[in-house]
Symmetry: C2
Subunit: 350 residues, 2 copies
Amino acid sequence: MQLDNRKKEVLHAIVDDYVSTNEPVGSKSLIERHNFQVSSATLRNEMAELEHLGLIEKPHTSAGRIPSDKGYREYVNSLMTIEELSPMEQLEIEKRIDSSVDEVTDLIKNATHTLSETTGFVSLAMSPRLKKSFLKQLKILMIEPGKALVVMVLSAGVVKDKVVRIPNFLSDEQIMKISGAVEKSLTGKPLDEITLVTVETAGKSTDVPEPLLKQVLYEAYAAIKQADELNIFLEGEHRMLGLPDFSSLGRARDLLGTLSDSGMVAGYVNEMENAAKEQGNDDSFMIRIGQEIALEGLDDCSFITATYNLTDSVSGNIGVIGPKRMLYSKVISQIDFVKKKLNKEMQKFT
Amino acid sequence: MQLDNRKKEVLHAIVDDYVSTNEPVGSKSLIERHNFQVSSATLRNEMAELEHLGLIEKPHTSAGRIPSDKGYREYVNSLMTIEELSPMEQLEIEKRIDSSVDEVTDLIKNATHTLSETTGFVSLAMSPRLKKSFLKQLKILMIEPGKALVVMVLSAGVVKDKVVRIPNFLSDEQIMKISGAVEKSLTGKPLDEITLVTVETAGKSTDVPEPLLKQVLYEAYAAIKQADELNIFLEGEHRMLGLPDFSSLGRARDLLGTLSDSGMVAGYVNEMENAAKEQGNDDSFMIRIGQEIALEGLDDCSFITATYNLTDSVSGNIGVIGPKRMLYSKVISQIDFVKKKLNKEMQKFT
DNA sequence: GTTGGCACTCGAAGGCATAGAGTGCTAATT
DNA sequence: AATTAGCACTCTATGCCTTCGAGTGCCAAC
């Protein structure tokens, strides 16, 4: 979209004003609040053109203008300038992200919590995508007859486990044999290269009778597959209720209803991630505005995520869902700072 | 509270009508909907007395009456009759509570989810109180230099683990020695009898040098303590937004704000549990109505929980937070049925 | 103890006028 | 050709008034 400078300024001003006042902005108040060296009539003409371009719109005939999704998009893509957080704000975040936790998951939850508190919106994080991490250890521990625990240590410093059912007859020794054989042959393999066949082959070297063996191997395989399942952490849903943008109960309900289905949100974040990758989008932020979000009830929201890195090949997303009437530059730098802090803290785990 | 029969009938009718219509109920509509063999004037007199007793109240001078907290309390304690769920409803719940999960926690989450869906309210469950369960196994596994995993198998069929930091110098062998020694001497002990001293004594038999040993033992102790920390699962918060009782955004926000602090809710459930125990309340339900609930924003709610049992000595709570204008008899039987189903399914894990 | 009757109260809903912010258009100005 | 002043018009929000109806308390009669 090519806009002349003055149109850019006008759109910028409209977005700024609307974001801070939550009132449709008219030509007069625009003049009052900004140093335009033209009359309101001229602005009215500009605004009519911006409306024609689909960048702003009127809630009704005799009201001021509000940015459309396209207008926000233009603002985000070309108009806004991102500033660094103030040292105070940085310190606040540093302080909140506690580095004393022992597990990556806790660190991520911690960062998510912090992000929701600093932005005042809903925050979310995806667990790391572990497909590319490799097995460093795998142990099958007998818990009691018929029950075992599969413990996996992954290269990304993550520990996963799962209780599985095994045949009752199996002895402690047999399990240890299987455990050893599987570990020996799978260690060093990335999770996404481990298939049921791989696991079954790994177990062949033991002398445990076939049908029993097969069941244990299958369970081990299932445990490995479960280890790279994606989790999502959502936090601060209730904060949306405090925003004037969701003062209509209907909207608030639709929004929270959708967010309550965390699996659906996780799936959507995943799609976004994949789409970004396909497009070779090396921008570190993914931003979806209003109707661009393919989730019901999020028409008035914007969805911003960044990518954190646990290792070179293992990453996840962290971000915010807020009203589309938000201070984009601020929120983006908040996410960015939390992400960087998270990346730094994560190094301790790898 | 001693009420004559007619007063009981009137209160019963008022609660029923108000619950189903969400309108203050007046003397005339009461006559219309129920077979009172008296005139509306008589009912007005009765209602005036009920109001005097604090059982019902007027939103304003010229409106009908609504039950007060005390009125609901009376209703719940003495008036309502609890019916069994219909076979259809039972089947629906049976179907939803999936018995194929491998861990108790999943089963509990499952039941919580089901409860929220069947009641349409917020449901919650506490994780089992494991203080009285005893250690069946405890293993410390070396993950990498400086990092180990403490895995505990408890008598209640629960598996817990925690990643801990250990001194870098320790060898695999040394850890195994400690692990063996601790397990040997702690196996069979209830969690609440395990103290730091117990653990340290348990480790003494090894030849691992003192300061290193001590750190590992401390971490093991911390892992054990963490194992009996209480978790709470809350689900369906967004459903409250659909209820007319929370059509005021302010109330809804206060409510969801409070519920978002799950630690606080967990603490409160715990208090309720302890209070019930002290009073020797062997009733299987704990019910708190309106202002009886010592949590901000829950003035218009009722809080109903039941106790599930994982083993004789290990139990937890499962229940519902809904509007106080609810169909108590129905909700109670729903909770009761879910609890029974949960108890049944839990037997598989012990 | 019960009832019919009646005056009174109060909130909800609808109608109506007004104020205010904003718009688009036109004609004049630079 | 771009800008501006001016003006008629539009639409919402607000406040005020009225009406309507469900409900109440109380009193006198049964």
